[in-house]
């Protein structure tokens, strides 16, 4: 009994005073500064931070996959079972990678080799470390796929990564990490790209495996709620430094550092304002969607009807493949519905001629998810924001372009001098502000936000939501806000529509739907969504 206790108290991994810097053309900057932490058997440590905080760099150092140069380990030690792996030769260290410590990555489509079957990629672990025969390795790979609940594993092992869904690919990744029964698994944003119900299942699987094999788990995430769901202790990283460290529950109940408090305040789903009660009697709807359907090879959107009222935020939530984006494309007339009508101020937009359509498009603008892809990298901000006026040439006199661009930049919280810069000179959040400024350029009535904040860090997300709400009042806009993230919709929307497999499952006022959902699917979604309240209460 005594030995067991001392064994359990022994650290599997100890990171002491680790500092990493990157040498770039603009000079060297410190990505990780004097970071210390340790991990014991069966324990889950969450490393929390926003993009650029150094959390993934720390994982790369432990895994020996930091690209050097430009990366440089300035100081510190990484003790794996009391052995400093930074001092090992490459070949000695390779023997530990995958067998003692393994990693699971976020973007599974790019992290799995597209040209090899998943079975062979898992089997490779045994061939490399255990010198097992091809056949024996393959059989073990199939067993692992079975353990992570891939249906029909002996057949699916022969399939390639692109033939799996995102959630299944993450299971394959987990199976690969598990292969050699490592002491430690590092999960780097393992659920970030996944739907909330899939996320819940993956987190459950990780927790289960940790307990089953008494492993140490390091969970790297930007999502505080995910950390709250699964971790025992956590560290919060900001600009490479640990600003907060402690038992997960204690930190969430009583955060010490201002940055942690700020992060916690940014968590969506906490704004308890009085939602606008749109009275249908007073306002006529701007947009009436009547029984629209869209068929591709499958049914993308099936008999969907709803209204949008002036100055209203309508949230559309659903998991991938639920038809949210199809609805937005239909409203934007980027594709035409197979059936149904879309009425804009009572007129069917499907019957619009070219001129009517141009006027309609002026009034309905869109902000997309990925601010890195949606801004043309070869155009400066002035050109990006003024381009709508070039297309709608009667909208604004050319002499006024400059002052109007400045006005728009100010209203989205940027500086007029930013007009001469190019997209790559801005951060993700700033770029999304630019995309919003462009959407505002033509004084629209409606802005469709398609996952407009889901690629952003939580504190930036909170800022953009605040900005969107301010702009709504200032310019009397209506939003259709499409998201898979329920708390964000709760913060922003007045009414909400829940979609699944192309159909509307439930719709109503946000507070009604979130506090007392009627449909089982809505309940499941809400239950799967991780939250800190579960931990604290």
């Amino acid at each position: 009994m005594v030995t067991k206790v001392s064994d359990a108290n022994k650290s599997l991994l100890k990171v002491n005073n680790l500092s990493v810097s990157f040498d770039t053309a603009e000079g060297s900057f410190d990505a990780v500064r004097a970071v210390n932490f340790d991990l014991k058997k069966g324990e889950t440590l969450a490393i929390i931070g926003e993009s650029g905080s150094g959390k993934s760099v720390t994982a790369s150092v432990i895994m020996g996959i930091l690209t050097c140069p430009p990366g440089r380990i300035k100081s510190g030690e990484v003790l794996l079972n009391d052995l400093d792996i930074l001092k090992l030769s490459d070949s000695d260290r390779r023997k530990l990678m995958g067998s003692k410590v393994a990693i699971i990555f976020q973007d599974t489509l790019s992290h799995l080799n597209p040209v090899f079957s998943v079975g062979s990629q898992i089997a490779e672990c045994f061939e490399v470390h255990k010198n097992l025969s091809k056949k024996e390795s393959w059989n073990r790979a199939v067993k692992l796929l079975e353990r992570v609940s891939i249906p029909n594993p002996s057949k699916r092992a022969k399939d390639f990564p692109h033939q799996f869904s995102g959630g299944q690919r993450q299971r394959v990744m987990i199976a690969m990490a598990l292969a050699l029964e490592p002491d430690i698994i590092i999960a780097d944003e393992p659920t970030t790209a996944l739907d909330v119900t899939i996320q819940a299942k993956i987190l459950e699987l990780l927790g289960e495996l940790r307990d089953e094999r008494n492993m140490g788990l390091i969970l790297i995430t930007h999502d505080l709620a995910v950390a709250a769901e699964i971790s025992d202790k956590l560290i919060v990283l900001n600009e490479g430094k640990i600003v907060e460290k402690g038992i997960t529950r204690d930190v969430f109940i009583n955060p010490n550092h201002t940055y942690t408090k700020q992060l916690m305040d940014s968590i969506p789903g906490k704004i308890t304002k009085n939602k606008k009660k749109t009275s249908k009697k007073i306002f006529k709807p701007i947009l009436q969607i009547k029984n629209i359907s869209k068929f591709y090879d499958t049914i993308a959107c099936d008999d969907v009807s709803f209204n949008l009222y002036p100055n209203e935020v309508l949230g559309i939530v659903g998991e991938s493949g639920s038809g949210k984006t199809t609805v937005s494309n239909l409203i934007l007339r980027l594709s035409s519905p197979s059936n149904g009508k879309i009425l804009y101020h009572g007129k069917n937009i499907l019957n619009f001629n070219k001129k009517d359509l141009l006027n309609f498009r002026r009034k309905v603008q869109v902000v997309f998810q990925d601010p890195y892809a949606s801004l043309n990298p070869t155009m400066n901000i002035y050109e990006i924001i003024s381009e709508p006026w070039v297309i709608h040439s009667d909208f604004l006199d050319k002499k006024l372009y400059k002052s109007k661009v400045s006005d728009l930049l100010i209203s989205v919280g940027l500086h007029p001098d930013d007009a001469i810069k190019f997209p790559h000179q801005f951060s993700g959040g700033q770029r999304q502000r630019i995309a919003i400024a462009r959407a505002l350029a033509l004084n629209p009535e409606i802005i469709i936000c398609d996952e407009a904040v889901s690629a952003l860090d939580v504190s930036i997300q909170a800022q953009i939501i605040k900005l969107l709400l301010n702009l709504r009042n200032k310019f009397s806009l209506s939003y259709i806000f499409i998201a898979h993230d329920l708390p964000v919709v709760k913060d922003l929307a007045d009414r909400v529509i829940v979609m699944k497999s192309g159909k509307i499952i439930e719709q109503g006022l946000v507070n009604d739907v979130f506090n007392s959902p009627k449909e089982k699917y809505t309940k499941d979604l809400l239950k799967a969504s991780p939250s800190i309240e579960n931990l604290i209460n």
């Binding site: 020996g64 995958g98 990555f105 973007d107 080799n113 597209p114 490779e124 470390h129």
Partner: protein
């Protein structure tokens, strides 16, 4: 994939038919073969008789009709110069060119994969810098000049290698060497570029995190992905060589399809021109199909489309 291939073959047959019609008429624009075959002072009656005998007097549509008629019998016409079926002459020449092309491309591809991958492993390293300069020089070297210089050095001055002709291994060295230079230079650059991308991919990180050795990371994980663009360029180069390594064959007196084509054009030997173009076009069609299949073999995402 099957559907894709059959589509591809069908459109290639259309293209070859079009090409064939064009070659038939264009060849006849080069002039009367009689001018080349008969002595300058040949009397008019002899010329008339020559034209009559070979059907050059008939209206061109009649000639084309007769040609098509013969074609359905599998007859590609007779060579004026050699007085043998044109197809026989072409089928003697094509294996010579194909073996030259196959050896040259295998060497170029293998060399490019090794040099390019090693250069990509540490971009801007010393090996990369040297290989960049050398490959650029090779890719832009004029082969007629290199060939003549090589003859001057290795045959005339040193006397190590024969100047021309076909025979044992020594006869192959210079023609192959010259043919390899340009594709090798070009392919090294393509391999380097695509391997730099492949080696910085996320799945390479995954492989390293699994503890896979570096040589397996490079030559298994990265290479299989990096090869895709290389195959396109290699196929292009192979087609160019198969299309007649005209200059090399002429300089080294290799009786291949390139030399045959040039000779028969010069001699207005229409039947041979047509036959060699048909056969070459079919060879290129096959090279393209092989490239498509290679793509599908290497990349499952294409296979499953």
């Amino acid at each position: 994939m099957k559907q894709y291939l059959s589509k591809r073959i069908f459109s290639s047959i259309l293209a070859i038919t079009g090409l064939f019609v064009m070659v038939f008429f264009l060849a006849r624009l080069t002039g009367d073969p009689g001018h080349l075959y008969l002595p300058i002072d040949a009397p008019l009656e002899v010329r008339k008789e020559f034209s009559e005998k070979h059907g050059f007097n008939d209206p061109i549509y009649l000639q084309f009709g007769k040609f098509l008629g013969d074609l359905t019998d599998g007859n590609l016409g007779y060579s004026l110069r050699k007085e043998r079926p044109a197809i026989d002459i072409v089928l003697e020449a094509i294996p010579v060119t194909l073996s030259l092309a196959a050896v040259a491309m295998s060497i170029a591809l293998l060399g490019a994969i090794i040099i390019g991958s090693l250069a990509a492993y540490s971009p801007n390293g010393i090996f990369d810098r040297i290989s960049r300069v050398v490959s650029l020089t090779a890719a832009s070297a004029p082969d007629f000049w290199v060939a003549i210089t090589a003859i001057l050095i290795f045959s005339v001055s040193l006397g190590w290698l024969p100047t021309s002709g076909i025979g044992g291994v020594p006869y192959w060295i210079m023609p192959i060497g010259i043919l390899v230079i340009r594709p090798l230079g070009l392919l090294v650059q393509v391999v380097r570029g695509s391997m730099i991308t492949a080696l910085s991919s996320d799945f390479v990180k995954t492989a390293r995190a699994k503890g896979v050795k570096e040589n397996i990371v490079i030559f298994k994980h990265a290479l299989r992905n990096g090869l895709l663009p290389v195959i396109t360029v290699a196929g292009d180069q192979a087609a160019a060589i198969a299309n007649g390594a005209v200059i090399v064959e002429t300089i080294f007196g290799w009786p291949g399809i390139g030399k045959l084509m040039i000779d028969s054009i010069m001699q207005r030997d229409f039947a041979v021109v047509q036959a060699s173009i048909l056969v070459t076009a079919i060879v290129i069609l096959f090279i393209n199909i092989i490239i498509d299949i290679a793509y599908a073999v290497l990349d499952p995402r294409i296979r499953h489309k």
